[in-house]
Symmetry: D2
Subunit: 116 residues, 4 copies
């Protein structure tokens, strides 16, 4: 048997992957919309959020003891990204992205606490 | 609307993510088993396969025209990784990994052809 | 000894890392400038180019036989990214980015040929 | 001008890239050596360390305010990886890897403090 990926961890991995996906596909969408959606800090936030989600999923899959630390940071970045998307939340893509970020943040916070 | 992710492309993204996941969680599993499972070329193959799957998914999500080229390479690496897992296929994890690689290779080959 | 990283491969790894770096730091720069610099296809190109550079470097470092294939795609993407930066090349950052892409493409093409 | 990458931040990015490189090329090396070098926790540590180094460098290059948080985790993982390599430090590759990890951890700790 591998390193026992619990149901809770599997859910967290799934949400990290969904969040990475939603953030990355929001990048061309927001650039197309232009205006506030294409501002530097929003686009950088989307790319950075996709990045830490991928890294947290990888730490869990590899069985690294440090997944609790990457999940802690992931929860913070996802919450900030959700807030940023809600601020611009006048279209479905941003609402959808904010929801994916919130779900990922919730799971990551649980993983960070469980391991501490 | 974003850059029109077709059903076929969405399926390919999903399979790339599943394959990345299965390959990465196979790394600690195979290292634990030891012997042929822990040989250099097998472990390197699993890590490299996870990597190109993630990159191909990212190219599709970003709407890059070059996703056809990354998908083409991804199909080759996934086929090679599947063959390598089948060679060691005396446990469920390796069988499961080979299947995920084959499904991803199939989708990636379609994406590579469609765009050509 | 590890898997014999030749001088030529080491140079290619270095250029992939430089290109990833220059492309990624150009993203916030171009978004700040706005206009043509912040268009969807240019920003997506910069992110995708950084991605395949990182993946090619990883394949070489891991000793994967498929580095020739990722380097081949990397050379194509880098050439396209260089052309895109040259088109906007009215500032030093874009000139600098185009140069890093050209140097990386040159090394990657050599690696693709050597292995074939 | 881009987002003002200070000399100290540039040094940290360079060390993250060097550490990612050294950790990844140590993977096939350690698998070849076998024995304690090929144990699950050591190999997983090398891959995870390469991963968080890459992510921290990307956060700095993108100008994300959260680079301080990824650098903080990066410093912890690098210190743990250095300790793990020193434990096996009977060959030059492990000594070299431990040094790259220590240098990266030192820079990342500075970046984490400066931003706090």
């Amino acid at each position: 048997m591998p390193h026992q990926i619990s149901d809770r961890m599997q859910e967290c991995i799934d949400r990290c992957q969904s969040c990475q996906e939603t953030c990355l596909e929001s990048v061309p969408h927001c650039l197309e919309l232009g205006g506030k959606h294409a501002e530097r800090d929003h686009i950088s936030m989307l790319i950075a959020c996709a990045e830490i989600c991928d890294t947290s999923a990888r730490f869990m899959l590899l069985g690294s003891a440090y997944h609790a630390r990457t999940c802690e940071v992931c929860a913070e970045v996802c919450d900030a990204c959700a807030k940023d998307c809600e601020r611009l939340g006048d279209d479905d893509t941003m609402k959808h992205c904010a929801e994916a970020c919130r779900r990922c943040a919730e799971s990551c916070r649980q993983m960070a606490k469980t391991a501490a």
